[in-house]
Symmetry: C2
Subunit: 80 residues, 2 copies
């Protein structure tokens, strides 16, 4: 079983890395790109769990380990 | 219009960051997580493009700017 986890800065938090990419793209001629936000993406391989257990466990891992709750938010999906 | 871009290390490339997270999770009691791969996720806001133009432009941006083709691969989707 696999899980995908997305961790993004909250939309109220400034993303300087994304802004830098946006400016770089603009200077390369891609001026149609108005905004860039960068986040992290994790692929977890899980063994020996039911779908419900995986759901609970990945939610806890994303919340407690992968995300800084002060500035970030997460979403996840369970596959297979 | 928005685009989502995922950039991951090629599956043949070692992911030490993912391995570190996997070991950290294991030491925290999450031993059901057998493997972790970490990648980057970008949300691009695009203006004044048709869906076809966006498709072409985001493919080029992902290939030329966001991805290091030696060790990384990408996929993307266009939204709205």
């Amino acid at each position: 079983m696999k899980a995908h986890v997305w961790v993004m800065l909250k939309s109220t938090v400034l993303d300087p890395q994304g802004q830098t990419i946006q400016r770089a793209l603009s200077s390369l001629g891609y001026s149609t790109v108005q905004d860039v936000r960068q986040g992290k993406f994790f692929v977890l391989a899980l063994g020996g769990l039911s779908r419900e257990e995986a759901q609970t466990q990945v939610a806890r891992i994303a919340k407690d380990v992968l995300t800084n709750p002060v500035i970030e938010e997460f979403r996840f999906e369970i596959l297979e």
